[in-house]
C-alpha cells in the first residue's frame, strides 16, 4: 500500500501571477479593473474640468421649472405652465403608446405576411416577397417621412369638409373624419360617470376604465374556470359538454351591464371652427409614425414567422396525423409550441427595435420623450448632459425590462442539453 503524500508546497513567487493559470485570471482581472477605473476616472475628470470651464454645474433643478411649451398629444393633463419633469413624463407616455400600438400592429401584419409568403398562390407570395424586401431595405427614417408626406398630401384638409360644396365627406355615416390633420373617431362617453382616481396627485386614472378592466378580467377568469370544469368532465366521461356560449356570456354580460349602468354612449366628431371637435383625435404624426414603424417591423417579423414555420420538420405534422389528430389540434398542440420557441426570442428583440426606433418621432414632430426631454427641454434649458443622461436611462429601463422578459422566456423554453 502506498501512502498518498501531498505534492511539495510551492512557495508563492511573483512570476506565478503571470505564468500560473490559477493566478493568471486574477491578474488579468485586476489589470482590467484598474484600466477600467483609470478610464472612468479620466472621463469624469475631463467632464468636470470641461464643465467648470464652461461654468456649468450638473444639477437637475431645471426639471422643476415651468416648461413653457405646449404638447399637442397628451395622455395626462398638461399645460405650458407645468414643469419640465411633467413634460418629460407626457413624452414618455407617448413613447410607450406608440410602441405598444406599433408592436400590436406589426405582429398582426407580420404574421399575416409571413404566412402569405408561404402561400401556394404564386402572385400573392411574390407580392409579399416584394413587400418584405421593399420595407427591409429602405431606412425606417425614410419610411416615416414618406408616410407623413402621404398622409399630408393625399388626405383632405378639414377645410374641404366645410361649406355646401364640400369636396370631402366623413366616413361610416358621419361618425369618422379622415383628414390630413389626423383621424377623428367616436369617443366613448358616460352619462353617469364615476369620476377619476388621482394617483400620487400627479395624474388621474378614469374609474370607468378601471371598472371595465376589472370586470373583463373577472369574466375571463370565470370563463376559464368553466373551461377547466369541462375538461374534468371530458376526462371522466369522454364527452365534452358544449360550453362556449356560457363562457361568452360570462365574459360579455357583466360588461354590457356595466356599460349600460354607466350610461355609455359615443361622442362623434363635428366640424367646429378651424377643426373637428369632439371624438378621439389620432394625430397625423402618431398615425404616420405608427404605420411606418409597424410596416417596417412587420417585414422583419414576417421573415421570423416564415423561418419559424419552415423550421418545424414535416415529420412532426405527419406524426401528429398518424396519431389521428385533426389539423387544428396539430397546429395548436404540435406545430405552434415548437415554432414559438424559434419565433418568440427574435420577435421580442424586434419589439425592442421598434421601441427604440420610435425615437425617430422627432422627424414628424410626434412629441415622444426624445421630442420633449431630449428635444425642446434640452434646447430651452441648455442642460445637455442632464437631459441626455435621463433620456438614456429611460430607454435603458424600457429595454432592460423587455429583454428581462425575453430572458425569462428563453430560460423557460430552453431545450435541456447534456
Amino acid at each position: 500500500m502506498t501512502t498518498l503524500t501531498d505534492p511539495p508546497r510551492e512557495s508563492f513567487r511573483l512570476s506565478m501571477l503571470i505564468y500560473d493559470t490559477r493566478y493568471r485570471s486574477m491578474t488579468i482581472q485586476v489589470v482590467a479593473m484598474i484600466c477600467f477605473m483609470l478610464m472612468a476616472a479620466w472621463l469624469i475628470n475631463n467632464t468636470t474640468q470641461n464643465l467648470e470651464s464652461l461654468g456649468k454645474k450638473i444639477e437637475f433643478g431645471f426639471l422643476a421649472e415651468p416648461a413653457g411649451y405646449d404638447i399637442n398629444q397628451r395622455l395626462i393633463d398638461y399645460t405650458s405652465r407645468d414643469t419640465h419633469l411633467r413634460a418629460s413624463f407626457v413624452g414618455l407616455l407617448n413613447t410607450l403608446l406608440v410602441a405598444v400600438m406599433g408592436c400590436v400592429l406589426a405582429t398582426i401584419l407580420g404574421v399575416f405576411i409571413g404566412v402569405l409568403r408561404l402561400s401556394k398562390n404564386w402572385l400573392i407570395a411574390r407580392i409579399m416577397t416584394i413587400y418584405v424586401e421593399m420595407f427591409r431595405n429602405v431606412p425606417v427614417l425614410l419610411w416615416i417621412v414618406l408616410f407623413m408626406a402621404v398622409l399630408i398630401e393625399t388626405l383632405p384638409s378639414p377645410r374641404a369638409f366645410r361649406g355646401d360644396n364640400a369636396t370631402a365627406s366623413m366616413w361610416l355615416g358621419d361618425t369618422m373624419a379622415v383628414t390630413n390633420r389626423g383621424v377623428y373617431i367616436p369617443e366613448p362617453l358616460f352619462s353617469r360617470p364615476l369620476g377619476d382616481l388621482p394617483v400620487f396627485g400627479a395624474f388621474n386614472i378614469s374609474l370607468e376604465l378601471l371598472l371595465l378592466v376589472a370586470i373583463l378580467i373577472a369574466g375571463l377568469f370565470g370563463a376559464r374556470v368553466i373551461g377547466k370544469r369541462a375538461d374534468a368532465v371530458q376526462e371522466a366521461t369522454g364527452d365534452r359538454p358544449t360550453t362556449w356560449y356560457i363562457q361568452l356570456g360570462v365574459v360579455l354580460l357583466p360588461l354590457i351591464a356595466a356599460l349600460l349602468a354607466m350610461g355609455f354612449h359615443l361622442g362623434y366628431p363635428e366640424l367646429k371652427g378651424f377643426n373637428f371637435a369632439g371624438g378621439i383625435h389620432m394625430r397625423n404624426s402618431l398615425i404616420a409614425l405608427w404605420l411606418a414603424l409597424s410596416f417596417y417591423t412587420a417585414a422583419f417579423i414576417a421573415e421570423i414567422v416564415r423561418a419559424g414555420i419552415l423550421a418545424i420538420s414535416k415529420g412532426q405534422t405527419e406524426a401528429a396525423n398518424a396519431l389521428g389528430m385533426r389539423p387544428g389540434r396539430t397546429m395548436r398542440l404540435v406545430i405552434l409550441p415548437q415554432a414559438l420557441r424559434v419565433i418568440i426570442p427574435p420577435l421580442i428583440s424586434n419589439y425592442l427595435n421598434l421601441t427604440k426606433n420610435s425615437s425617430l418621432a422627432i422627424a414628424v414632430g410626434y412629441m415622444d420623450i426624445t421630442g420633449t426631454l431630449g428635444g425642446i427641454t434640452m434646447n430651452q434649458t441648455g442642460r445637455e448632459l442632464e437631459c441626455l443622461l435621463m433620456l438614456m436611462l429611460v430607454y435603458l429601463a424600457i429595454s432592460l425590462t423587455i429583454s428581462g422578459v425575453m430572458n425569462w422566456y428563453n430560460e423557460r423554453v430552453k431545450l435541456v442539453e447534456r
Binding site: G68, N72, S157, F274, S285, A363, G375
Partner: protein, 339 residues
C-alpha cells in the same frame, strides 16, 4: 493639420489638438479657415446652391469676417447646425462664430455664456394664414392648428401668446422650414408661425403667394445676430466691429462700387478714412491689418447691399427694410462711431 498627433489610421482624419478656449483669432489664422456655424437651410439666410456654395444673409456675415481676418471671403468652413446642435457646436469650439438667425435672449447670453456681438436683423414672430379663412387678427385664431418650427424661441412665444389671450390651439411641431411649409400648404395646419422674415421668405416661394396673408400681430421681439463664446473678448470685438463696419459703411455711403476709389487715398470724411484704414490705426487695435474693414465690405458690399442681394424687395423673398433701416431713416440700425 501638420501638427497632428496620430493614433492609428482613423484618427489621421481629424484630431486637431489645440486650445479652443482662448485666442480664437490665432487659431483661425493658423488654420487659415474660419469655421462658421450656419443653418442647414433657411431661404435667403443660408442655403447651399447647386454648386455647394453657401449663400444668404447670415452667410454674408461669415464671409465678411473671413475677409477681414484672413483676407479671403471664401476661406470658410460652413458648419450646418440645427437648433439643437448650434450652441454646443459653439461652446465646444467646433465653430468660431455662429451666424444662424439666433435670437439674443438673456438666458442665452448669461446662462449659456455666449456673447451676442450685435444684431444683423430685427425680427419678430408673426403668423401667416390662407386668405380664404378670412382671419384678420391673431386673436381670432381660437382653436386653430398652428405649425411651428421646434428648437427655437418660437414655441415658447406661441404658448405665452395663446395663454395670455386665453385662446386654445393645437401646436404641430416641425423640424425644418421645408416640412412646415409642406404641411401648411396642404392644409394640415391653419396657421404657420415663425419669424416674420421667415414667413415672408416662405410665402415668396408659394405658387400663389397672394392667397396667403401675414397677420398684423408681431408677438415677440427677435433680435437676430451673430454670436461667439464668452471668454475671448478680442475675438468678440472682431466679429462685433466687422458687423458694425458693414452697417456704418451703408450709413456713410461706402459701397462695393466706390470702395476701391474711396480707400485709395484719405478723403474728406475722417470717419470714412478711419473705417477704411487710410487714417488712424483701428485695424491694428483689433489685431488685424489696417484695411480689414475695406476687405470685409468688399466681400459682399455694405449692409444695405447684402440685404438687397439676399432678402431685399427685388429678391423672391422681398423683405422691406422696415426696422432694419438705418437709424437715419427711421430704422434701428445704429453703429457706434468708429473712432
Amino acid at each position: 493639420m501638420k501638427k497632428t498627433v496620430f493614433f492609428g489610421a482613423l484618427m489621421a482624419a481629424g484630431v486637431a489638438a489645440g486650445a479652443a478656449a482662448a485666442a480664437t483669432l490665432d487659431d483661425v489664422k493658423a488654420r487659415g479657415k474660419l469655421n462658421c456655424g450656419v443653418a442647414t437651410g433657411v431661404p435667403g439666410f443660408a442655403a447651399p446652391d447647386a454648386n455647394g456654395e453657401w449663400k444668404g444673409f447670415d452667410v454674408a456675415v461669415c464671409r465678411a469676417v473671413a475677409a477681414a481676418v484672413l483676407d479671403d471671403a471664401s476661406a470658410i468652413e460652413f458648419v450646418p447646425t440645427t437648433g439643437k446642435t448650434r450652441f454646443t457646436a459653439l461652446a465646444s469650439g467646433e465653430i468660431d462664430m455662429l451666424a444662424r438667425n439666433t435670437t439674443w435672449t438673456f438666458s442665452r447670453d448669461v446662462d449659456l455664456k455666449f456673447t451676442f456681438v450685435g444684431v444683423n436683423y430685427y425680427d419678430g414672430q408673426g403668423f401667416m394664414v390662407p386668405k380664404e379663412l378670412g382671419v384678420t387678427s391673431a386673436k381670432e385664431l381660437d382653436g386653430a392648428t398652428v405649425c411651428i418650427q421646434t428648437g427655437t424661441t418660437t414655441e415658447l412665444n406661441l404658448a405665452d401668446f395663446f395663454r395670455v389671450n386665453n385662446l386654445s390651439y393645437e401646436p404641430v411641431p416641425i423640424e425644418t422650414n421645408a416640412e412646415a411649409q409642406q404641411q401648411y400648404l396642404a392644409g394640415a395646419c391653419d396657421v404657420y408661425t415663425t419669424d416674420a422674415s421667415g414667413l415672408a421668405a416662405t410665402r415668396a416661394t408659394f405658387e400663389n403667394a397672394a392667397d396667403h396673408v401675414i397677420l398684423p400681430e408681431i408677438i415677440s421681439k427677435e433680435p437676430l445676430g451673430p454670436l461667439v463664446r464668452h471668454g475671448d473678448d478680442e475675438w468678440g470685438d472682431i466679429v462685433r466691429w466687422t458687423l458694425n463696419a458693414l452697417i456704418a459703411a451703408e450709413e456713410m455711403g461706402v459701397t462695393s462700387a466706390n470702395i476701391a476709389e474711396m480707400s485709395a487715398a484719405a478723403g474728406d470724411n475722417p470717419e470714412i478714412n478711419r473705417l477704411l484704414g487710410t487714417e488712424g490705426n483701428l485695424g491694428e487695435m483689433l489685431g488685424l491689418s489696417a484695411d480689414w474693414a475695406k476687405k470685409a465690405i468688399m466681400a459682399n458690399g455694405n449692409y444695405g447691399e447684402i440685404f438687397a442681394t439676399n432678402i431685399g424687395v427685388d429678391t423672391p423673398i422681398g423683405l422691406a427694410r422696415g426696422l432694419n433701416a438705418q437709424w437715419t431713416e427711421g430704422g434701428l440700425l445704429y453703429s457706434p462711431p468708429f473712432r
